[in-house]
Structure formats: C-alpha cells, structure tokens
C-alpha cells in the first residue's frame, strides 16, 4: 500500500514537472496583442457658444447621476501688481467664502455641503478655475450658486479678515519646508524680479481691501473672458438653456491685459546655497527653458523622457537612484507656463555628504545626452510610451472638456491632440541630440541647494568637496514674509 502510494506520488510529481515546463510564462516580447484603434474626440463636437459669447465644451455622460462643471477664467497672479502681492491668494480664498450680494459665504457653503456637492475656486498664474460637482437632481440649485459666486461676489469683510489670518499663519511656515523653499527660490534666480516671482508679505496682504478684490473681479470676470467645461448626467440642449439664463444677463467688458516683460536676467552660473540644518540637500540644477508652443516641444519631451523624465527608464533615475542608491527622488524636468518660457532642471534630494556627488552625476548625464546619440532602444521606449498611452488623456470626461477649454483659452491649436501622435512619431535620434544641445546649456547652470552647508561642502569619498568645484558659491538669502526682511 505504502509503496504504491509512493509510486503514484512520484508519477504525479513527474507529470507535474512536465506540466510546469509547459505552463512557464512567456517573455513579454513574445506576447502578441490584438490591434487597437483609437481616435481622439474632436473638440468641435463639444463646443457651443452661449449668450454673450460665453464659450463652453459640453459632454453628456450619463452613467452616473453626477454633473461636473468648471469655469476657466483668464486671470491670475501674473496680473497682480507688486504692491498688492497676495491679492490672488485672497481672491482664491474669498470668492466663495466672501458671499454674494444676496447670500453669505456660509449660506452658500452650507447649502453645497448639504447637497453633498463640492464647489472650489483657485487662482493660478494666468487662469482661475471655479469647479462644481453636484448630483444631477440638484443641478438647478447648483447652477444658481455657481453663477452667483462667479458673477456677484461680495468679498464681505468678516471673510476677508479670516482669510488674511490664514494667509499670515501660512507665512510663518513659508521657509520651513525645504522643497517649498527650493521651488520658490529657484524661480527667483531664474526669472529675477518679475511678476512671475512676486511674493506676498504680511504688509501687502494686510493692506488689501474689499475694494481691491471687487475691482480685480470686475475687471476679469465676464462671459468673453471665460470658457466653461461640463460633463455628466445632463441633456446638452437643456444645460445650454439653463446656462443662458445667467449668461444673457451678464455684460461683457473691454479688457486689455497689462504688458508684461519677457526679458529675464541672465543669472550668474554657480552654486546658490540656502542654509538649513537638515540631513539632506535638496537640489535643482538648471536654467530657463522653453514654451510649449515651441516647434521643438515634442522633441524636447522625448529627449527629456530619456534624460530624466521617464522615471525609472530614464538615465538620471537609473544612475542616481537605482545604481547608486543616492536618492528616492531624482530626474529632470521641463516645466511650462502659458506665454513665457518655463524652466529646465535636474533634481535630487540626497544625504548631505553625497550632494556634490549626485550633482556631478546629473551634470554628466546632461553632457552625455548633448554629446552622444541616444540608443535605438531608448528611442523606442520613449516614442512607444507616448503613442501607446495617448488614450489616457481622455480617461476623464470632465478632464477632457477642461483640456479642450484650456487649449482654446490659451490660443493653442485645437488640433493639438489630433496631430499629437504624428508629431511624436516624427522625432528622430538626430533631433533629440539637436534639441539637447540647444536647450541644455552647461555654461548657464544654476545649482541651487537647500541644506546644511558644512557636511554638504565636505562631501564624501566619491566626490570630496568643496562645492566650489561645481562653480562659484553664492550664499542665497530668503525672505521672511512676515517681516519682509531677508534672512539666512
């Protein structure tokens, strides 16, 4: 009995081993995928012009009983003069909370909350957005509140006072978080004294008045300066009628935007060091970048994907993080802003003694992509990533409508998505090297470090200090927004 069992078991095992060798996993490159065709939605199919020239992108999406609606307004911090710095922040906080001619902010927020909706407003650099989400059964009431806030804000004194208090408390911690300090100060070096970098202080915020906010609102908030985006459980024609009820009573204004300088200083290259007693250095290495309307934009995207934008598949991440274990976060990025060049920077946060070494590795990668052609495999990965993930842009119906509205507001070509894949496909290895040479400029590098100077300067075996091996050291001071004083 016992022997038979053993034999059977042995046979079973044998069978199993054979089985397993058949059941082995294929290598990913052996998989054959069925073809997939995807055409992006056409913005023209969603666009309508409502009363008083209010433009809108509307998309019915009836799977869930929800309506999302967003207004994008052409206004922002860029248009706030220096002596009123912080007006945009106060506007963000008070458009809803400050109430309207007929409702207090508390009444509005209370009602939205009771309906289980959300209503949020935020002001960015050149666009502001008011976004609402409500159950479709509450759409009428939601729209009433949405347009009341958009058209008739009152910025009541009590809400202003509370908002100023919040802003001032935030200022207390403005220089605590090393990554926030780095982001803000890097911009200051790159753009210099410019509306893009004006910083609110306690003094500028305290001087702001209800009249300032009303004047700013009245200047920028009118139908022709706004584009709506909506998606959800509604009938397009009915929604248009509902919106027209408000838009038809909303007068347009004439508006000329202030002329803003596009001249930026050429910062002296070198190390800009901000002292902070922490156990890592937070680093940005770069200079001014390009606009996303630049014809080289797609080639730059592909180039940066290979250099440091494609997370683990990129050279900087692979070298600095994966090979050397120097950092959790590292890579390179081009940032973009509407109407102005953005920035280009490599970044890393690493323990103090390896700061110099990590920077040297990043600079080496900058040089390599300028001097050597990228490999075919790198090109294939980068191009395929953009092509194969393209449909992701359209995953969210409201997100898609907002993207279309933003293109139009910023005067960008409405065929951006329709031509996207062809433009990516057209990028070649030669083009990648050309744009690397053109847009990465080693002689202009601003190396900004937030960290503890002594251990950073001392370095480690692989890169003994001092840091001035990387360039002239500038001890950079930051502003205490509470006092307006520069501090180290």
């Amino acid at each position: 009995m016992r022997r038979t069992d053993t034999v059977i078991l042995a046979l079973m095992l044998l069978l199993l081993v054979c089985n397993l060798s058949f059941a082995q996993l294929p290598r990913p490159e052996e998989l054959k995928f069925p073809p997939l065709k995807f055409e992006p939605p056409n913005p023209a199919n969603f666009r309508v012009v409502l009363a008083n020239g209010l433009r809108a992108y509307l998309r019915e999406e009836r799977a869930l009983p929800i309506v999302n609606i967003t207004a994008i307004i052409h206004t922002g911090g860029l248009y706030v003069p220096k002596e009123k710095a912080g007006l945009d922040l106060l506007l963000s906080d008070c458009l809803i909370k400050g109430g309207t001619k007929t409702r207090t902010g508390q009444v509005i927020e209370e009602r939205i909350d009771f309906l289980g909706g959300t209503l949020n407003f935020s002001v960015g650099e050149r666009t502001a957005t008011l976004s609402m989400s409500v159950l479709s059964k509450d759409l009428d009431e939601g729209l009433e509140l949405f347009f009341d806030v958009l058209m008739n804000p009152e910025f009541r004194e009590d809400s202003l006072k509370l908002a100023k208090g919040r802003l001032i408390e935030q200022m207390r911690t403005a220089n605590d978080n090393p990554s926030q300090v780095l982001a803000r100060e890097f911009q200051k070096v790159i753009y210099g004294e410019h509306p893009l970098t004006f910083q609110a202080t306690k003094a500028t915020v305290e001087n702001l008045t209800q009249a300032d906010l009303k004047a700013f609102h009245s200047r920028y908030f009118f139908p022709k300066n706004i584009i709506l985006a909506a998606a959800g459980d509604f009938s397009r024609s009915q929604l248009q009628n509902k919106i027209n009820k408000y838009a038809s009573k909303w007068a347009n204004k004439s508006l000329s935007f202030p002329n803003i300088s596009r001249d930026f200083p050429q910062p002296e290259p070198g190390v800009y060091f901000i002292q902070k007693k922490i156990n890592q250095g937070y680093v940005s290495v770069g200079h001014i970048g390009i606009e996303d309307t630049n014809p080289d934009y797609f080639a730059v995207q592909v180039m940066n994907f290979i250099l440091g934008g494609g997370s683990f598949t990129s050279r900087i991440t692979s070298k600095v993080r994966s090979d050397e274990g120097l950092a959790y976060n590292t890579g390179s990025r081009f940032t973009y802003r509407w109407g102005f060049p953005g920035t280009f920077a490599g970044y890393v946060q690493t323990k103090s003694e390896t700061v110099g070494y990590a920077i040297s590795l990043i600079l080496k990668e900058f040089e390599r992509i300028r001097q050597e052609p990228v490999s075919d495999a790198e090109m294939e990965t980068a191009i395929n990533y953009y092509l194969e993930s393209f449909a992701d842009f359209f995953q969210s119906p409201i997100g898609t409508m907002v993207n279309f509205a933003s293109l139009e507001l910023q005067g960008k070509p409405m065929n951006y998505y329709a031509t996207y894949r062809d433009k990516i496909k057209a990028v070649t290895k030669e083009k990648v090297m050309e744009v690397a040479k053109k847009y990465i400029q080693p002689d202009k590098m601003v190396i900004m470090i937030v960290g503890d100077f002594e251990p950073c300067n001392k370095g480690s075996d692989k890169f003994p200090g001092p840091l001035d091996r990387l360039g002239k050291i500038h001890r950079w001071k930051v502003m205490d927004p509470l006092t307006g004083q520069m501090v180290e």
């Binding site: 079973m12 199993l16 996993l25 294929p26 990913p28 998989l31 995928f33 073809p35 997939l36 799977a63 869930l64 009983p65 929800i66 927020e109 909350d113 009771f114 309906l115 289980g116 989400s133 159950l135 509370l162 208090g165 919040r166 001032i168 408390e169 911690t173 605590d176 978080n177 090393p178 007693k277 922490i278 156990n279 890592q280 494609g310 997370s311 683990f312 598949t313 991440t317 692979s318 993080r321 994966s322 090979d323 050397e324 274990g325 120097l326 950092a327 959790y328 976060n329 946060q349 690493t350 990965t381 395929n384 990533y385 092509l387 194969e388 993930s389 449909a391 992701d392 359209f394 995953q395």
Partner: protein, 495 residues
C-alpha cells in the same frame, strides 16, 4: 515546494464565478468576481469607452505584519519587487545568481561584524566591502536595469506605481485595453519568481526616502505621537519603519517575508475599464492560475490594550503648530463605527461644527478638523486644531474648546439637519468616487481583502441608519480622558 504544487493542481477544477450587484438607493456598483483554485480573487468592473484598463493587484500585507527588528520591510519589499525575477531584469540568470550569492555571503559577514559586535573589526569590514564593490561591478553586466518598469512603459503603461500602507501593498498600472495580458504575465512572474538583486543599494534608496520624511516639518513629532498611541499593536510604527531596522534588515528577512505573504490566496487582482470579463478570466486562469497556493495566514494578534491613563505629549519643531487629541475607537465593522463616522462628518469640513465655532465664531483657530479612522484592527478618532498665533493663542489653549464641543455632543447630540447633511455628503462622495477608474479599483480592491467589497455598500447603508442618540452614545463612550492622548506641537528650534 513541489508538494504545494500538487495540492494546487489537485484542486484545479474548482471554479467560482459570481456576479455581485448591490443597489443602494441610486447607487449601483457592479463587480464581477472570479476565484481561482489557488484562492486568488479576480474582480472586474467593465467600463466601456476609452480603450484603457486599470490593472491593480493588492496583497494583504503591510507594516502591521512586521515585528520589531524588521519594521519597514513590507515597504522595502514593495521596492524590491521591481528588481526583477528569474526572467526579468537579467540577461543570464545563473551567472547573475552566482555573483549575487557571493555578495549576500559577504554582506552577511559585514552585517555580523557591524551590527552584532560592539567593536567589530573595521579592517575586515573594509576589505569585505571592497570585494562586494567588485562583485557588484561584475554583476552589472548581467542586470537589465528596471526591466519591468521599462516594459510597462513602452507598452503605454501609465499610473505605474506601487504603494504600501499599514494593511495593504498594491501594484498599479493602467494599460491599453489590448495589453492586459502583459500585466498578468509580469505580475504572475513576480508573485512566483521575484529575485532580489540590487538589494543593498535599494536599502539606501529607502533610507533616503525616510530622510525625506524626516525633513518634512512635523514628521518626527507625529511619528512619536503615533508610537505613543498605538502601544502594543503593530500600528505603533510607521510604514517607512525605524532607521535602525532599515539598516539591519537582511536579504534573508526579505525572502522569508516575501514567501509568506506573496501568495495567490493572499492577493486580489482588480480590473476596471474597457474589457470583456470572460477574456480576463481566461487569462487569469492561464497565468495566475498556475501559481501554487500558499499557507493560510493568521491575522495579527495584538490589539491595543485599554489605556487606563491620560497621555500627554509636548514637542517643538518646524512647521505648523497644532493640538492633536487622539481617542481609541473600535475597528471597521464594529456597530459603533457608523455613528463615529457620522460624527466626524458633522465636526469636520468647512461647514462643520469645529470650523464654525473655533474658526469663525471664536476666531481662535486657523483650522479645525476631526477624523474617524477605524482601520482593520484598531481605530483612532483624531482632532487636529491649528491655533491663531497672531492673537497670542497657543496650541494647548485650544484643548478646552475641543472638550467643550465634545461635551455639547454628549449632552445634546446633533441636529436633524447636521445628521442629514453628513449622510448626504457620504452618499454623494461615494457616487463621486465611482467616476475615476483608478480610485474605484483602489477602494474595491482594498475592501475585498478585509471584509469583502460589498462592505463598501453595507457600510453606507449603516451610516444612513445612524440617529442623534447613537452619536451621543458613542461620544460618551469613547471621548473620555482615560482613552485619550493629547499632543501639543509648538514652533521651536527649526531643525
């Protein structure tokens, strides 16, 4: 190993296909379920439209499955799961393995010398380290860097990531609808065959990740608060773990942890997007179905013992000063939890009681929040209030204001409007949560691991039944001093 496979194959024909469909008021959540013979669950939520599929896999393992000495290992393992397998990340597995073994042997000697002895032989350590460096250099030629990540990316993978929490570890990718098979192959491969090369440099990466947290204002104090609150229970430490343990964790520890928890009977795969369920099931059977079932896993043993004391902590540092008050509450699924959730809804938010009274009426605080966090095994109800320093208010001054609000609830309960508002908000935010495929996958996948995905709907139903008396009762039961930890954080010497 082989015997375990026999068991799995013996049960090969038992399949379970069920369709769950629960409708609550206007809420409809349809999840198709399929259980493989090895115990692995496959959940599917078809969403026709854009040809993308969110593919997530969740393991029922997190930092609560650790013990002192290996804290942080669940998260370290999550990092190491990207380092390849016998097939991925390597050009010549045998050659690489030979080198990797030698590295491990030397590193074990180094660890013993450094960590087991008081005065280890530094010379020996340096010598071994030199040999390790040489071996690592030699190993590089066999390593295909971040192979799995690259394979996902060049196939259009987005939302590519992984995360570890106290209770769950998740692996995420969103793929074109025609490439779900790729995820099945790669995930089945790393569930069975993960191979932990580049272990020592990845430990450095994780230590850098911990330093990043340490430099985030308030982190170090909050870490202490949590440790003081969750005495006994493994919720005591954070997911990132203690630095001492990160330094000392060995590859053996990692392999042991991996073998125990990365088994199909401890995993859920979930798919949300544009696909046909029968095709997903076919692929799942083919790839995940061949993985042998693992041992059953015991739930964690130690809960938080009753506190029997009133705890207070004081700390100083950079960042926002604040008062925290923590109370122990029961875990998810306990009958008191719905009332506690409703109460946190009533206290919180821009129109909640705390903001109305402390921020708007008394003007003593900048922000005031409450949150019920029941979790899987032990819960916490926390208050967090930021004082208005401009008016000379200190964090500790606000304690009496919070107790005043608590006492009001105990005595008078809440109004019918407040109750209805909290219920409406919970329901609407549930519906809103169904919009994003990624968010939906996360919620449903995680819920499935503990009390089943249907608990999302039954929890919502239970919330709707809560009365003012229920709220009064739970407030009286849990908001007492002997169940409370008060933590006061002030601005001080900026580190």
């Amino acid at each position: 190993m082989l015997l375990r496979k026999v068991v799995a194959f013996g049960l090969g024909c038992i399949l379970l296909l069920a369709l769950g469909n629960l409708v609550a008021a206007q809420i409809k959540l349809e999840v198709k379920e399929h259980v493989l013979a090895n115990g692995m669950k496959i959940l599917m939520i078809p969403k026709p439209g854009v040809p993308r599929v969110v593919c997530h896999i969740y393991y029922k393992v997190g930092s609560i499955n650790e013990r002192p000495g290996i804290t942080g290992i669940a998260h370290l393992l999550e990092h190491m799961m990207f380092k390849g397998t016998r097939m991925m990340g390597v050009t010549d597995f045998e050659a690489d393995e030979a080198l990797d073994r030698q590295i491990d042997e030397l590193m074990e000697k180094i660890y013993r010398e450094k960590f087991w002895k008081k005065d280890g032989d530094q010379k020996k350590v340096a010598e071994w380290q030199k040999q390790v460096d040489e071996l690592m250099k030699a190993e590089k030629k066999y390593i295909v860097k971040d192979h799995l990540w690259e394979t996902y990316m060049k196939n259009g993978g987005t939302g590519l990531n992984a995360s570890t929490s106290d209770e769950v570890t998740g692996y995420y990718v969103t793929l074109p609808a025609n490439k779900v098979e790729l995820q099945m192959v790669l995930e089945a491969d790393r569930m069975m065959n993960a191979y932990f090369r580049e272990f020592y440099s990845e430990k450095d990466v994780v230590m850098e990740e911990r330093r990043l947290s340490e430099n985030s204002p308030g982190f170090l104090f909050n870490e202490q608060v949590r440790a003081a609150f969750y005495v006994g229970s493994p919720y005591h430490w954070q997911v990132i773990g203690w630095m001492d343990d990160l330094r000392r964790i060995t590859k053996k520890d990692l392999i042991e942890f991996y073998r125990k928890y990365y088994v199909p009977n401890n995993a859920v795969a979930i798919y949300v997007g544009d696909f046909k369920p029968e095709e997903i099931i076919k692929l799942a059977e083919k790839y995940f179905g061949q993985i042998p079932k693992g041992e059953d896993i015991e739930p964690i043993r130690t809960s938080v013992p009753p506190q029997y004391s009133h705890k207070r902590m004081y700390g100083e540092g950079p960042g926002v000063p604040n008062l925290q008050m923590w109370f122990h509450i029961p875990p998810e699924g306990h009958p008191d939890v719905p009332a506690l959730n409703i109460l946190s809804g009533i206290l919180s938010g821009e129109t909640g009681r705390l903001t109305r009274v402390l921020v708007q009426e008394k003007d003593v605080a900048i922000r005031a929040m409450a949150m019920a966090r029941p979790q899987w095994y032990v819960g916490a109800f926390t208050f967090n209030v930021v004082p208005k320093l401009q008016k000379g208010i200190k964090p500790e001054d606000l304690e009496k204001d919070v107790w005043e609000e608590i006492e009001k609830i105990k005595k008078d309960g809440v109004t019918p409007e407040e109750l209805q508002k909290a219920k409406n908000r919970a329901e609407a935010s549930f519906i809103r949560g169904l919009e994003s495929s990624m968010f939906l996958a996360m919620r449903v996948g995680r819920a499935e691991l503990h009390r089943g995905w249907r608990s999302l709907l039954t929890d919502l139903e239970d919330l709707k039944k809560v009365t003012s008396d229920d709220v009064k009762r739970v407030a009286a039961r849990y908001f007492v001093k002997d169940n409370c930890l008060v933590a006061v954080y002030s601005r001080g010497q900026v580190r």
